[in-house]
């Protein structure tokens, strides 16, 4: 089953992901971000990265989380393989805890496809389709 769908943009690239719930939505978004950059099949689970993020705005949390994953890739050379996200909504506050298993990028092992440089608010959307939650987000290349 396809985890995400690529959405066209003139200069850059976007994705749409769907999930049964928020947890699945963020886990699939994590997969999409790393899979857009590195061929997933060759990634092993050697180390883990974890942390938490929050916001009073759901779209801001999506962009913050996406940009954090891009930072892990660009600075820590980390690429994910397996993703766990716990999502909490309390009144007007959204927060998530993530744990990602993956490894550091090795040029000779990993096939790098493209580099997402930033997540943006451009045409960003959260929607519900056939009972599933969906996100559309675009990245600057």
């Amino acid at each position: 089953m396809r985890v995400y769908k690529i959405v066209d943009d003139t200069g850059d690239i976007g994705v749409e992901v769907y999930g049964e719930n928020y947890k699945e939505l963020f886990e699939k978004l994590s997969y999409a971000i790393f899979d857009l950059m590195v061929e997933n099949g060759r990634v092993s689970e050697k180390i883990e990265e974890d942390g938490n993020l929050d916001s009073s705005d759901f779209l801001q949390l999506i962009v913050r989380f996406s940009n954090h994953l891009i930072y892990l890739f660009d600075h820590h050379k980390f690429v994910g393989k397996r993703y766990f996200v716990d999502f909490t909504k309390k009144e007007k506050d959204y927060s998530l805890k993530y744990k990602i298993y993956g490894e550091r990028i090795v040029q000779s092992k990993h096939q790098i496809k493209r580099f997402l440089k930033s997540a943006t608010y451009h045409n960003i959307d959260y929607f519900v389709n056939d009972g599933k939650k969906g996100i559309r987000i675009y990245f600057d290349l």
């Binding site: 600075h75 493209r114 440089k117 997540a119 608010y121």
Partner: protein
């Protein structure tokens, strides 16, 4: 509902207008520089972005888009807007993610005939010496103190540390550094991302090209700039790398939090802004200038590597490599412009637009004060590039700005689909261009068909008097990031 396109009227062969007052909330005109051919490819969403910019507070005179307009984030690519210095705003969306992405042109004493049989070997030498590609790290491992100095000194840091040349500084926009920068305005993440990427080309549409002068349009200016027929030149397109992206993301996030708190709703979240004189506005301006200085330094260091590659290859330092000019095309600057006969300080945003100051302008120095500022406009990797010169009219029409390139026509996905139908690399080589990249995908995404016709862009800005062609360059070797 009436499409936004219906409000766009042609003024003359190179300009179109949406008049102020014709749409809700626009108190200034929207001007797009387009000839009839380019008008056919104008995207509605890019036009809407131009109109959204006109709705920003304290915008001065007009919202402008260059002929290479296409959809961006917040502002359209090719967008120019100026805001009042005293009461106006600054917007990360008006600068872009790759802060001070820009073009630099180096000249040599070599002719294309000297290079004919050596192009593959020379380009391979440069490819090995200049780190490029996705997530590429540089050979320079910087300390936090080095980074502190780079964001303050820009290209001067490269000169002081043996990676650049003093004579280059007066050939870089703003002398290669902008003084109003502040390390304290940077996040830990941006500092992290800045440490390992100096002296790297990067990926995406960034490139390094070996070109030759194929056509001369203005003999006098060409001679003043040191250009001659068949001369080999090098064009370099890169910016502030992950560092600049992190700065932009940080401040879009910070401004967004403020808007959420104050319940400010914008037509597009990427249009977030802050009053220039507020703490938020000042912090962004200082951080943006850190990234601008980082980019000036990056292009100077890469030029140093290129010079060394040529010298190693030819086993002599008599190649005559020198800098023609280095221009920013993603930046916001404080400049003085004349409005209704009065000199006013403005915050000029150029998002995919190039400064285009004419001869005599007070901010130009040395030879360039007599000639006007060189304007570097790249096309696709086969059609070639133009060296132009700033036009007098740009000061009255576009806050001293002109186009920055051909402008994208196809999405990356569409480009790949077109490219898969043929042997792209073979076709490019058939056109006399040898191409290298860390990623085949990048070449497929950057095929010539992905871009608008550079000739239309150049003709439009020339007819509008924004800048004038001096020479045309044709590529013979291309490194795509």
């Amino acid at each position: 509902m009436k499409s936004i396109r219906n409000f766009l009227k042609r003024i003359d062969e190179s300009r179109m207008i949406i008049q102020k007052g014709s749409l809700d909330g626009i108190d200034v005109d929207c001007i797009v520089y387009l000839n009839e051919e380019l008008e056919k490819n104008l995207q509605d969403d890019a036009l809407l972005q131009l109109v959204n910019v006109a709705r920003l507070p304290h915008i001065v005179k007009r919202s402008i888009a260059m002929p290479d307009i296409h959809s961006g984030y917040g502002f359209p690519i090719g967008g120019v807007a100026a805001f009042d210095f005293e009461n106006g705003i600054i917007s990360p969306g008006g600068v872009g993610y790759d802060i001070n992405c820009g073009i630099r042109c180096l000249l040599t004493d070599i002719t294309v005939y000297d290079l004919k049989d050596k192009i593959k070997d020379l380009l391979t030498r440069i490819f090995l010496d200049v780190p490029s590609g996705i997530g590429s790290d540089g050979r320079l491992k910087l300390s936090k103190n080095d980074l502190k100095r780079i964001v303050r000194k820009g290209a001067l840091w490269a000169v002081e540390n043996g990676y650049g040349f003093e004579e280059n500084l007066e050939r870089i926009e703003s002398g290669g550094f902008i003084p109003e920068s502040d390390f304290a305005s940077l996040s830990e993440k941006s500092i992290d991302r800045g440490l390992n990427q100096q002296g790297t080309l990067g990926s995406g549409n960034h490139f390094l090209e070996l070109d030759y002068v194929s056509e001369i349009f203005d003999e006098n200016l060409a001679s003043s700039f040191g250009l001659f027929k068949n001369q080999v030149a090098i064009m370099l397109h890169t910016g502030s790398r992950g560092f600049g992206h992190q700065v932009c993301s940080d401040y879009v996030d910070r401004f967004t939090s403020y808007n959420l708190k104050e319940k400010i709703i914008l037509p597009d979240r990427q249009l977030v802004y802050a009053s220039f004189k507020s703490v938020y506005g000042k912090d962004y301006y200082h951080a943006m200038n850190c990234a601008a200085n980082y980019a000036f330094c990056n292009r100077e260091i890469i030029s140093f590597f290129i010079k060394k590659s040529f010298e190693k290859f030819y086993k002599t330092d008599k190649i005559g490599i020198r800098l023609l000019y280095d221009v920013a095309h993603n930046i916001a600057k404080v400049e003085e412009h004349t409005l209704d006969g009065k000199t006013k300080k403005l915050i000029v945003h150029r998002k995919g637009a190039t400064r285009s100051f004419p001869k005599g302008h007070k901010d130009l120095t040395g030879l360039l004060k007599k000639t006007g500022q060189p304007v570097l406009i790249p096309g696709d990797m086969v059609s070639g590039n133009y060296i132009m010169v700033g036009g007098e009219k740009s000061l009255y029409e576009s806050f001293g700005s002109t186009a920055h390139g051909a402008g994208r026509l196809l999405s990356r996905n569409q480009s790949q689909k077109v490219a898969k139908r043929k042997d792209v690399i073979k076709e490019i080589e058939k056109s006399g261009v040898f191409v290298l990249s860390q990623s085949r995908r990048t070449i497929l995404e950057e095929i010539p068909e992905a871009y608008k016709d550079i000739e239309n862009v150049v003709e439009t800005v020339k007819n509008a008097g924004l800048s004038y062609p001096v020479v045309k360059l044709l590529p013979i070797g291309v490194i795509k990031g």
